[in-house]
């Protein structure tokens, strides 16, 4: 155990384990994303051995799991400081971390080597549930519920045990209720596809566009206090504003997923209106970031974390907000829905809203772990530059391909098999797919540079600076 590690709470050591697992799964996600992109260029690749649906499933499921682990790790990192001591139930949390890892490993092995089963309940319980993002078999979903319940107990129990309830903690505790509740639909097997998708969107939308947004808002609030010295009064005020706007627009913004699944027509108006409002809270975050940065003359104690937070604010607004608005008005969505245009938005939104934010926390944790008072340097620029450039390139390439599909496949062709085939062979679509793979390589190089830089922080640390804090970080 290093001298620096001694100065950490057990909760923060657990956070480091979560971050390590998250970074590894981030790499696995990129690997299967790259593989999935290759099927579009070489459709016969691995045919009958490892087909597109398995690769794509592993890409999106590792995305959800690594981000969930990173978000949970971020809370485990900041919570001791917020409550002024060790968290409640840390032993359970440590056990559940390993349980979580074992669950993920077993599910991955089954997905890779078994892939699918017969049309029976056994398949749903032990192989694959076949619902996008919720493919994990039921036994594994039960395990994830246990992990989430333990996590909720750690947060809420800590606040009660310490008799300390800050504004951030209130928001966090209340946010955990829907986070766990909506996941209970992960076990359903509705015959009626309209009903199935209706409640499926409660999980997907309420996690990604509501509860996770609030969660990252809480993390960013604690982060800004830590690295920029922003006052609690300011971050909590902004957090309330963000919650008001995120949930005010996001709860009924759910309606933009209800345009075409067999639901009544009023969702076209409700979904269109509220999804048009959804960029507002994200714009608020940009204003917030600029305000904080300006008020502190860009002074901070952790330059990479500071720039990743700034990237998060802009990425969230543009990727989730602007890109989402661009395609969710029903008049446009009628043609853009279910094309690579959606994929463009999905990549940009997940990256901007969450990936940039949790990378900032990784840098902060490495800084505290290594005991560096001010983390600056230049090595981090490689990861920052390549990841952002790679993602922007992929987003634009997918947009190009998606627009070709929307115009030629849907608006002109009429969405039949032949229209889909024609659009997929359109020169713009093909060029977009090649460009996506190329920028994917850039993104993967950015991942390597990021990991290298995170690991190198300790190596390049001058001995004089490598002292641990006498008190837990």
């Amino acid at each position: 155990m290093s001298t620096a590690e001694i100065g950490l709470y057990r909760s923060q050591k657990l956070a480091l384990r979560y971050f390590t697992a998250a970074v590894i799964l981030f790499g696995v996600m990129i690997l299967f994303g790259f593989l999935s992109s290759l099927y579009y260029l070489h459709p016969s690749m691995l045919f009958k051995v490892f087909d597109f649906n398995t690769s794509k499933m592993l890409h999106i499921d590792t995305l959800v799991i690594w981000l969930l682990m990173a978000l949970m790790g971020s809370i485990y990192w900041f919570l001791p400081k917020e409550i002024g001591g060790e968290i409640a139930g840390i032993r359970f949390a440590e056990i559940m971390f390993w349980a979580f890892c074992v669950i993920v490993a077993i599910v991955a092995v089954v997905f890779i080597f078994v892939q699918y089963g017969h049309a029976d309940e056994f398949s749903l319980w032990f192989i694959n549930q076949g619902r996008k993002y919720l493919e994990a078999p039921r036994w594994a979903s039960l395990g994830i519920v246990a992990v989430l319940l333990t996590f909720s107990y750690n947060v809420i129990g800590s606040a009660i045990k310490r008799r300390k309830m800050t504004g951030i903690l209130w928001v966090l505790c209340l946010d955990l209720i829907p986070l766990v509740l909506v996941y209970t639909d992960a076990f359903a097997a509705q015959t009626n596809m309209s009903v199935d998708l209706y409640w499926w969107w409660w999980i997907v939308h309420m996690w990604v566009e509501s509860t996770w947004e609030v969660l990252i808002g809480c993390i960013m609030a604690m982060m800004l206090m830590e690295i920029a010295g922003t006052s609690r009064r300011i971050v909590e005020t902004w957090l309330y504003i963000e919650v008001m706007l995120v949930l005010g627009a996001g709860i009924l913004g759910l309606g933009h997923h209800y345009f075409w699944i067999g639901t009544p027509e009023y969702w076209l108006s409700i979904g269109g209106f509220f999804s048009a409002l959804e960029p507002l809270p994200l714009l608020g975050m940009v204003v917030h970031a600029i305000y904080d940065a300006g008020s502190h003359h860009l002074k901070n104690t952790n330059t990479p974390a500071f720039w990743w937070i700034t990237a998060e604010a802009f990425g969230n607004f543009i990727g989730a907000g602007v890109w989402g608005f661009m395609m969710t008005l029903p008049q446009i969505n009628l043609f853009s829905h279910g094309t690579q245009w959606t994929v463009s938005h999905g990549h940009f939104a997940f990256y901007g809203a969450y990936v940039c934010g949790v990378i900032a926390v990784f840098y902060l944790a490495r800084q505290k772990y290594t005991g560096i008072e001010h983390l600056h340097g230049k090595g981090w620029w490689w990861g920052f530059g390549l990841l952002n450039f790679g993602m922007l390139g992929m987003v634009m390439a997918l947009l190009l391909a998606g627009m070709a599909q929307a115009f030629y496949g849907r608006a002109i062709g009429g969405s039949t098999l032949m229209a889909f085939t024609d659009a997929s062979q359109n020169a713009w679509f093909v060029a977009g797919m090649w460009a996506r793979t190329g920028f994917g390589v850039v993104f993967a190089l950015g991942y390597v540079a990021l990991v290298w830089d995170l690991l190198a922080i300790r190596k390049r640390l001058p001995q004089a600076a490598a002292v641990s804090s006498p008190e837990p970080a």
Binding site: F47, T191, N192, Y240, M244, G262, G338
Partner: protein
């Protein structure tokens, strides 16, 4: 109340969230009735015994399903119980074979294969697959394709053989026929009409 006070915005956050949740609950109750089988937008499963079309409605200004006269599936008329059993099996096939990670249903899923919302109405079954398989009916051609997709390729992106039994494949065909009768508010637009309004 001072808008610079955090308490002002806390009250705003709580009240806004509460109102939105209440509205969502009411809308969900109403929507649940519309999307239930036999509801205003989702037909009974026994609709598989009827002809199904898709036409532009000048009043609603969107494409809507048109339910026509009798058209037995696989030469058989299913009662509601039999049709429900068929649908239950089909959905298990769709989930266990992970169809949604290549295809989309109502536009939701993955984008490697075509959208299946109105697949039953796709002219390709008559124009391409019936001649290719030698089947006499559309549903027979669909079953033959589903049981061994690599045998009937239409382009370089092929569907793998997911080892469906004949009963599995028939159930999926019935499911696709039922799904084409769901009122999806005009999605996908112009299906099979190549941009022309009837």
């Amino acid at each position: 109340m001072d808008i610079q006070e955090p308490g002002f915005w806390r009250a705003g956050a709580i009240s806004t969230t509460a109102v939105m949740i209440v509205v969502l609950i009411f809308l969900s109750i109403n929507s649940s009735q519309a999307i239930a089988v036999g509801g205003s937008h989702v037909p009974d499963y026994s609709v598989i015994n009827r002809q199904i079309g898709y036409r532009y409605d000048w009043t609603r200004r969107e494409d809507v399903p048109v339910i026509g006269g009798p058209q037995p599936l696989f030469g058989k008329v299913y009662n509601e119980g039999q049709a429900t059993a068929l649908m239950n099996r089909a959905k298990l096939v769709i989930q266990s074979r992970n169809c949604i990670n290549c295809h989309t249903f109502f536009g939701n899923g993955a984008y490697y294969g075509p959208d299946l919302t109105k697949s039953w109405l796709d002219p390709a079954w008559h124009q391409i697959f019936m001649p290719m398989t030698g089947a006499k009916t559309q549903e027979e051609a669909m079953v033959m394709f589903l049981m061994d997709p690599p045998k009937y390729p239409t382009w370089d992106r092929r569907m793998p053989n997911l080892h469906l039994s004949e009963q599995d494949a028939q159930a999926v065909v019935a499911y696709l026929k039922w799904m084409s009768a769901v009122d999806t508010n005009g999605f996908p637009a112009n299906f099979g009409m190549q941009g022309e309004k009837p």
